[in-house]
């Protein structure tokens, strides 16, 4: 019989380890917010994030009072740190949407225990991303001019510009992601409401759970709403970063004007996003003792997704170089040479190849895929690599374009860095608040994975089938 269990494990790795029942699973997850004393480490992590957030606040204040001249952004590199960081953050968000929407529609059970915080990560990453274009306008209080409304200027935004598509893509993305995350939270918020002892927590969770009573009608409507939202989110996984890539590729600039950009950017986004999910969930499952729910299998799957998307990104790098050469255009060829070996930023390119191209090759090996430590390290390296990718695409294309007389070097100022680390602080702060006040794992969805949920019990059938096939192989 042990044999059969082993085979079953290999064919269908369980998504929840340990002998959990509905009650123990619910306890384990909801206790993080309700019962357990806030661990000291939480205060340290939150504190670091909060301090960085204050640095961002100082930067933003100084920026608004002074103007964007405090950044290193200037001609010819008019799109520097703000868009590098914008694209980096937006990309990170994509894994959350992929996990929550596409994997749901594809019936991938392993999404269940990671979707909640992956979606939260999406929202927080989009918030960090949104800060940049908003402030880069220089007058953020007039940012509503970007939206089409009957203004006194008698003008619509320029609908032929990808920058305005960006406004729609990102705002739609933020809205749908928020709705998806929130709708998914409602049944769990009701669970917390029912279990909370503190009066104020009960009121807060009660308001947020919108009168959820878990009736059959509630569940029926919930399932329809959730599926519809998944359907809405699915095209967004592809559209948002495609449109972000069009910001570049619609222009005529060598290094930007390439047809590979949309798929290349989308793959990069998912790649970076899964790296960030791994960076978040590996410590989380250790600190909060959640290894039963975020199992090694989850990590292995995510490692595989990273390898696949990383290879697509590498294909993108090859194609970029190929397009440059194959175009036989003087400026395209120059751009490739300037980017890869002839220009002052050549070592950024090779660092990028090292981070995104070489590091992921380790994921071919089981030893690395199955080691949380190595996955964590590779994910960190990939996050740096994806940031470098945007730096290379933006700076090396802009700093030397058609006219040598307009060439210049770009270097970020201290305020560029404080802004970047500031948004990291915003992200970390929000993540820590989320972990403390909301269920990090979808409680009711995890319950559907438990043996207790499987009322018909196909275990005997399965064992029979396995034994049957074993006999077949032997004879």
């Amino acid at each position: 019989m042990e044999d059969v269990k082993e085979i079953q494990r290999r064919l269908h790795p369980p998504m929840v380890e340990g002998d959990h029942t509905f009650a123990t699973a619910t306890d384990r997850i909801s206790d993080i917010t309700l019962k357990r004393k806030t661990p000291f480490g939480w205060f340290i992590g939150f504190g670091i994030g909060f301090i960085l957030l204050q640095i961002m606040m100082i930067t933003v204040t100084y920026l608004v009072f002074t103007g964007i001249g405090i950044w290193g952004t200037n001609q010819p590199v008019g799109w520097a740190f703000p868009i590098i960081n914008f694209v980096w953050w937006i990309g990170i968000g994509h894994a959350g949407t992929l996990i929550s929407a596409i994997l749901l529609l594809l019936n991938q059970k392993w999404r269940t225990s990671i979707n909640r915080f992956a979606e939260a990560m999406t929202l927080f990453a989009v918030a960090c991303a949104g800060v940049y274009p908003l402030l880069h306008t220089g007058r953020p209080w007039l940012a509503y001019w970007m939206f089409p409304y009957p203004n006194t200027m008698g003008m619509w935004p320029q609908f032929r510009s990808p920058l305005i598509w960006d406004v729609f893509a990102v705002s739609t993305y933020a809205t749908v992601s928020l709705l998806f995350w929130y709708v998914g939270l409602i049944p769990d918020l009701a669970t917390l409401r029912d279990r909370a002892k503190n009066k104020y927590f009960r009121i807060a969770y009660g308001l947020l759970s919108m009168g959820w009573r878990g009736s059959a009608r509630h569940w029926h409507r919930y399932e329809i709403a959730y599926l519809l939202l998944a359907g809405l989110s699915t095209p967004l996984v592809l559209s948002v970063h495609s449109i972000v890539s069009l910001d570049f590729s619609v222009s005529q600039l060598p290094g930007w004007h390439a047809t590979i950009f949309p798929p290349y950017f989308v793959a990069g986004a998912i790649f970076a996003g899964f790296a960030m999910v791994l960076i978040l969930c590996i410590p989380l499952r250790v600190w909060y003792n959640l290894k039963d729910f975020i199992t090694d299998t989850h990590l292995i799957y995510m490692g595989k997704v990273m390898l696949a998307t990383g290879l697509i990104v590498c294909y993108g790098y090859v194609m970029e170089a190929f397009f440059g050469w194959y175009s036989a255009g003087e400026f395209e060829v120059f751009m490739i040479k300037n980017r890869i070996w002839n220009g002052p930023y050549w070592w950024f390119y090779w660092l990028l190849i090292l981070c995104n191209g070489v590091s992921i090759q380790f994921l071919w090996f089981k030893r690395f895929r199955e080691s949380a430590f190595w996955l964590f390290i590779i994910s960190l390296v990939v996050s740096v690599g994806m940031w470098l990718e945007r730096f290379v695409i933006i700076v090396t294309s802009l700093h030397r374009d058609f006219l040598p007389s307009s060439w210049a070097m770009y270097a970020p100022t201290i305020w560029d860095w404080s802004m970047f680390f500031g948004t990291l602080g915003l992200f970390v702060t929000l993540i820590f608040l989320f972990v403390r006040f909301l269920p990090v794992i979808s409680i009711f969805e995890v319950r559907t994975l438990l043996p207790e949920a499987n009322v018909h019990g196909h275990q005997e059938d399965f064992e029979e089938n396995v034994l049957e096939s074993q006999r077949g192989i032997k004879s």
Binding site: P150, N151, T152, M153, G154, M155, R193, R202, I203, G206, M210, G211
Partner: protein
Amino acid sequence: MAQIFHHAANNVAKISIVVAILLGGVAFFVYSQVARSSYLTGRYAEKQQPVQFSHKHHTGDDGIDCRYCHTSVETSYSAGIPPTETCMNCHSQIWADSPYLEPVRASYRENKPIEWERVHDLPEYAYFNHSIHVAKGVGCSTCHGQIDTMPAVFQVETLQMEWCLSCHREPEKYIRPKSEIYNMQWDGNDLSADERNQLKADYKIRQKEVLTSCSTCHR
């Protein structure tokens, strides 16, 4: 355990959705009206000047041509504010002792221009040129209204960009024959559509893509 919320809470929640949508619609409508209101644009607000000068009297009653004072309207970006000497051409002879005109005489004696209050104030980032508008058949009253009926001049249009564009998009609706430019009583309905298009062709007014290009006004 007592219930947290009153049993009416569900209904309150449902009603609040409708109320929120209605409030949003109302807020949007209010915004769109306030943004164009005379409170923000200064439209219809009479400006008090250092001299009680009446355009109604000089233009309407006396029939002085606009260009007698605003001399550069056909040749320059600015219509021109007359120097005190222009006033004194007449007022050294008539009403020469009027106490109302003391500021004018003082200005003349001390050789110090009168500090008129600007009524039509365009933002600096918008380039405007009177001469091209006059040359292409835009009459004074099209933008300034019937100055000959205003004791104290006020702005009759919003001067907002949508107002500029309404003409730049369809100039044929607002132009008139050269002879009628300074006619304060001109009625736009006097011309047929064909006549307007003919005028537009005669004036060689360029197509709206040129007239509404950003750099036509924001240089």
